[in-house]
Structure formats: structure tokens, C-alpha cells
């Protein structure tokens, strides 16, 4: 059976499963639509949170970013997991005790202000829309590659599938679909990783392979990787970061951003009890860690595989003692068919610049390397483009695994992108129908009317997300990281202060959110362009131009500090919150008395 048919079978079968679950778990009430009726088992909720959380960026891009960035990119690993500690300790149990459906609703009640609620809705929509763009690109790339259709057509199919199960199932449908999607994506990620770890290090567990020994050369795997890449003029894989402050702030931004992402927070509204909310954050991290502890092994092993493919002599000895791979070999060797397939997508580009019939891959920004290159008659790095995103998707082909594994990875990548997209779309639609329509425009709306409004806003959100997916503003993981900056600088601080301080009042919360939002957005737009429109940036997006070397991706942590500071100063100058709000804060601090949904 050919690869295309296998892909169709795996992707088709998993999609049928998701739709089937959606029909079984139709939402009949708003409590089911927004919070799955608050009856989800904490282990299942952890699994659904894992799928909700692990996006196209986690599944497709992260290992590639780590592969080419090395140690410095550990910020993604620590940041995207450490946030769950903050969620478990600082937010989840208290928000579950509060017992309402949405994040803006908590902010509106705690700060007794429709304005604060509206501001939270705006922040939530900006964050979720920014984030959903990355998912839509992930859907397009994956479909385009594996179903041999255009990226645009792939996007339309993905949008139609999400529409089918999210609009009818709401949170209830999404939750149980995500459980299935988690199972698909974790199997798809782990199987190729195990095989590659066995091939390179002889160790079954990739987590141990990473710190194991490279079989072909007999030296430690990471030492071997460092040696190969530095020989070709690249930065050592385990080398120090150039800017420790930036790495610190980037990790912090990703952590508090994770804890402030509305689509993750609302998952903790679905469990029956406060103690389940704490436990559920732990289970979520168990399922997330299964992928996140494997990702650094996948990244480093894919990097070594790629480099030694280009320099066959590097497997057991020194790369430059032998010749580079020839163009003829790439075109004819059946084991290298993955290079040809990825060249077709334009994500991997090679060009024999000096016409010697070989493809020399090296770092042509290194002076030492250019001296060697000049001596040997090379005229620049001949692998002119390697997209980060191909590292995971090409992995099973690089390792020559059977066709069904490749099909499984395709299904896994789609599961990752679709599950996150659905979670985000639910967060957006509940903000529109529950916080905007029921909360301020038409409070008298009936339950049936609100459910209809929720479904219509979900449909509308899907149309907007699809449009943005067709015209993406940039690289998947980076756009996602920007959403984190905003979540870190707006939502997380205001929620935390709402729970841990009785003194922060309406004025303080609004001032804090505004300062965090404006500061972070302006800093990002200064380097990335206003609303990411190319050419409108005021300063070039390079480290030399950053304030203290802090990249736009890391600025959320600074925005959060400014948010806290502004909120405390303004609250100190204005009068303290009314008695009933102080009592509300007292009551959310204590688990007893958390009932069923009180969203009405």
C-alpha cells in the first residue's frame, strides 16, 4: 500500500473517531457547552488538558527549535511545563471554587466592574486569536505535506472538522475528543523517538538516550553532537546562552503566560471538586511531560542525523575528513527519499553553488569556517533553507520507519493542532456569548438563546481563524510565544491579585491590565511591526537593538511586573473594595461549599 493511501486511512480513521465522540457528547445546556457539566474525572481532564495545551507548535515546531537552538531553547521546555506548577498552586483551585464559566466573569465579579470584565474579554480575544493563527498554520502545513494538497485546501478541511465537533459538542464534546486526540498524538510522537534513540544510542527510552552513549562513535551522545556541529562552524549544542537575563525572562514569560492562558484555565472549571482541580493540574503535567521530556531527545537526535546525512564521514569520525554527500546520491538513494519529498514542499532547499556535484552544509557566518571553505573551493552553505517544522515530521522517514508510522505522525500532528484550535475557539466563543452578549448586551437572554449565540460565535471565530491561517503573520512558534507575552502581562497578574490580595480594587485591576497590555504590545510591535504587518516595525528585530538584550518574546515577564506595580500603586491611592467583594475573596480561599455550576 502506498504512503498516500496509508495517510488517508490513518487521518480519516482518527477524524471519524473525533466526529463520533462529538455526536455522542452533544452539549444540551450552557453548563455542558461551557464547562462540560463540571463532571469530568481529573485524570481524563488532565489528558484533555494535555491535548488542549500541546499545540501544533509543541508537536511540530518545538523539537526543531531545540534542534537548532540547543541549550538556550530549554526555555521552552521549562517554561511550558513550569506554568502548571503556578496553575496548581496559585489559580486552579480558587477559580474552580468560584464556580463560574469564564475567566472574564471572575475578573468582572472580583473587581465588581463591567469595565474590568470587558477589558479581560479584549485581552482574552487578542491572546486566543494570536494563538490560533499558529494552530491554523500547523494544520495547513501538515495537510499540505501528507495529503498532497495545497496548504489552503488543508486549512479548509481542518476548519470544517473543528466546526463539526466544536460547534455541536461545546466543552463537553471538545473534552472527550481531546482525550482521544491526546492518545493519538502521544503515540505518534513517542514511537519514532524510541526507534531513533535505539538506532543512535541503543537505549529504549529517549530520555535516557539523550544522556547516553553514541553507539557508532563510542563517545557520549551530547559530546558527539557538540563535536560534529562545532566542526562545521555552528554553535556548540550544549553551549552557554549569550544572554542569561533574556533566557531567564523568556522562561518566566512562558511560565506565567501558560498559567494565564484562558483556554487552559477554563479546563479546570470542568472537574467536580476543588481538590480535583489541584490534582488535575498534576495529571495534566504527567501527560504533557511524556512529550516534553522526549522532545529534547528528538531535537538533538534529529540534528545529529541531519548533519551526519550531509557529511557521511561524521558518523564515526570527523566530518571534514571526508567529502560531503553528492547530489547524485540524494537523487538516487532510496534511504534519502525524505530529502526529496521535503525539497518538493520548499521547506528544505539545497543549491550546489560551486557546481562540484556535492552539497556542502556548514555555517557560512563563521569566519574560521569560511577560511576552510575558501581553501576547498566552497562558495557558501549549500543547504540554504531548513525549516524547523520539518524535524519532527521528517523524523520517521529519516529513521526509515515503516509507512504506517509516518501516517501515524501525520494523524498526531493534526490531532495536536485541531485539539488546541478547538480549545481556543471555545474560549473565544464563550467570551463573546457569555461575557459580551449575556454579560452586557442582553442579560435577559434565555438559556436556549445563549446556547445558540455560543454556537454562532464559535462559527464566526472559526471563519476568522481560517482567514488568519490563510494569511499568517509569521513563524508558528514565535506567534504563539507572543500570545504568551500578553497572557503573562495581563491575565495572570490580575487573577493572582484577585485571589491573594483583598486590597486590590477595581481601579487597580484596570490600571494594571492596561499597563501590562499596552507596554507588552508596544514593545512587541516595535520590533515585529504594528499588528505584525511587515515593514511597519520601528526598529530592526535583532538582538543588538533590544533594550538590555530582552527579546520581544521575553517581554511578558516585564509587562507582568509593571502590571503588579501599577495595580498596587493605584489601589493604594483609591478606596478599598466593598465588603461583599472581600467576603467573596474569603470564600474562594476555602474549598468547602464549592457546588455545581452557578453561572446564572
Amino acid at each position: 500500500m502506498d504512503q498516500f493511501t496509508l495517510n488517508l486511512i490513518f487521518v480519516g480513521a482518527t477524524f471519524a473517531l473525533y466526529i463520533g465522540i462529538a455526536i455522542w457528547a452533544r452539549a444540551g445546556t450552557t453548563a455542558e457547552f461551557y464547562a462540560a457539566g463540571q463532571g469530568v474525572n481529573p485524570v481524563l481532564n488532565g489528558m484533555a488538558t494535555g491535548a488542549d495545551w500541546m499545540s501544533a507548535a509543541s508537536f511540530i515546531s518545538m523539537a526543531g527549535i531545540i534542534a537548532f537552538g540547543g541549550y538556550e531553547t530549554s526555555a521552552y521546555l521549562m517554561g511550558w511545563t513550569g506554568g502548571y506548577v503556578l496553575l496548581a498552586l496559585l489559580l486552579a483551585p480558587y477559580l474552580r471554587k468560584f464556580g463560574k464559566f469564564t475567566v472574564p466573569e471572575f475578573i468582572g465579579d472580583r473587581f465588581y466592574s463591567g469595565g474590568a470584565r470587558l477589558l479581560a474579554v479584549i485581552c482574552l480575544i487578542v491572546i486566543s486569536v494570536t494563538y490560533v493563527i499558529g494552530q491554523m498554520r500547523g494544520v495547513g502545513v501538515t495537510f499540505g505535506r501528507f495529503l498532497e494538497i495545497s496548504t489552503d485546501q488543508g486549512l479548509y478541511i481542518g476548519a470544517a472538522i473543528v466546526f463539526a465537533y466544536a460547534v455541536f459538542g461545546g466543552m463537553k464534546g471538545i473534552t472527550y475528543t481531546q482525550v482521544a486526540q491526546y492518545v493519538v498524538l502521544i503515540i505518534a510522537y513517542t514511537i519514532p523517538a524510541i526507534f531513533i534513540s535505539l538506532q543512535l544510542t541503543g537505549v529504549f527510552l529517549p530520555q535516557l538516550g539523550l544522556i547516553g552513549t553514541h553507539t557508532a562513535s563510542g563517545v557520549e551522545f551530547l559530546t558527539k553532537l557538540d563535536q560534529v556541529v562545532t566542526e562545521l562552524g555552528f554553535k556548540a549544542y550544549t553551549g552557554e546562552t549569550a544572554n542569561m537575563l533574556n533566557m531567564f525572562l523568556f522562561t518566566m514569560s512562558l511560565m506565567i503566560g501558560t498559567a494565564g492562558l484562558p483556554h487552559v484555565i477554563i479546563r479546570f472549571f470542568t472537574v467536580p471538586k476543588v481538590s480535583d482541580a489541584r490534582l488535575s493540574a498534576g495529571w495534566a503535567l504527567v501527560f504533557i511531560a511524556l512529550l516534553y521530556t522526549v522532545a529534547p531527545a528528538v531535537g538533538s537526535m534529529a540534528r545529529l542525523n541531519l548533519t551526519t546525512t550531509m557529511w557521511p564521514n561524521a558518523v564515526a569520525g570527523n566530518a571534514l575528513d571526508g567529502e560531503a554527500i553528492t547530489r547524485a546520491e540524494i537523487d538516487n538513494n532510496p534511504d534519502l527519499s525524505w530529502i526529496r519529498t521535503w525539497e518538493k514542499t520548499g521547506l528544505l532547499v539545497m543549491e550546489d553553488k560551486n557546481g562540484d556535484g556535492m552539497i556542502q552544509y556548514y555555517n557560512d557566518k563563521s569566519d574560521a569556517m569560511n577560511a576552510i571553505a575558501a581553501e576547498r573551493g566552497w562558495t557558501g552553505n549549500e543547504v540554504t533553507k531548513i525549516d524547523n517544522d520539518i524535524m519532527v515530521l521528517a523524523n520517521p522517514e529519516i529513521a526509515a520507519l515503516p509507512g504506517w508510522v509516518i501516517a501515524l505522525v501525520a494523524a498526531g500532528a493534526l490531532a495536536a493542532a485541531l485539539s488546541t484550535a478547538a480549545g481556543l475557539l471555545l474560549a473565544i466563543s464563550s467570551a463573546i456569548s457569555h461575557d459580551l452578549i449575556k454579560g452586557s448586551i442582553n442579560p435577559a437572554i434565555s438559556e436556549k438563546g445563549e446556547l445558540l449565540a455560543a454556537r454562532i460565535s464559535m462559527g464566526f471565530a472559526i471563519v476568522v481563524a481560517t482567514y488568519l491561517g490563510l494569511n499568517p503573520p509569521g513563524f508558528a512558534a514565535q506567534v504563539v510565544a507572543l500570545a504568551f507575552g500578553l497572557a503573562a502581562a495581563t491575565i495572570f497578574p490580575v487573577l493572582m491579585m484577585g485571589i491573594f490580595s483583598k486590597r486590590i480594587n477595581k481601579e487597580g485591576a484596570i490600571a494594571g491590565m492596561l499597563v501590562g497590555l499596552i507596554f507588552t504590545a508596544v514593545y512587541i510591535f516595535t520590533y515585529k511591526g504594528w499588528f505584525f504587518i511587515p515593514g511597519t516595525n520601528m526598529l530592526p528585530d535583532t538582538a543588538a537593538n533590544y533594550v538590555f538584550g530582552i527579546s520581544p518574546l521575553s517581554i511578558g515577564a516585564v509587562g507582568a511586573v509593571l502590571n503588579f506595580a501599577a495595580a498596587f500603586i493605584v489601589s493604594g491611592m483609591t478606596k478599598e473594595p466593598p465588603q461583599h467583594v472581600q467576603e467573596l475573596v474569603e470564600s474562594i480561599r476555602i474549598p468547602r461549599g464549592a457546588g455545581a455550576a452557578t453561572g446564572h
Binding site: S74, V85, L208, L210, T238, S275, R589
Partner: protein, 85 residues
Amino acid sequence: MSDKSSSNAYWAANLRIIGISLAVWFFCSFGLGIILRPALEGIKVGGADLGFWFAQNGSIYVFLVLIFVYAWRMNKLDLEHGVEE
């Protein structure tokens, strides 16, 4: 809620648990993985140096243990103060 002093004691104990947990959280990730990494260069975990290992794998394991220990301690605390559900 009826007994104000007990609820204050509950909250103070809760804050203490959170504080200790956050100190561990910070130390294993920002501490060992980033700030102290250059100082710990000679210590090895298999084929990786300690800081690199904590940054890429170790801190995640600590986070996991941390959340479950916290959930267990909090359940005990809820019972002690009679505020469980």
C-alpha cells in the same frame, strides 16, 4: 467561615506550603537550569552536565513531584481545618 481564626490559620498554612513549593520550583528551573549552570559545569548526569540536564529534563520531573506533593498536603490541610468538600 464561621470560625474566623481557624480560617485565618488555614490560609496562613496554605501560604506557607505555596511559598515552600515555589522556592523549590524556582531553584530547580531558574536556579540549577539557568543561573547556577556555569558554576556547576563539572557535575555530570550521564552524558550531560547537571545544569543542561535540569534545563531539559530534570526540572520537569521536579515540577511533577511538586504538584502531587502539594495536592496531597493541601488535602490533609483541608481535613485538619475541616474545610474539605
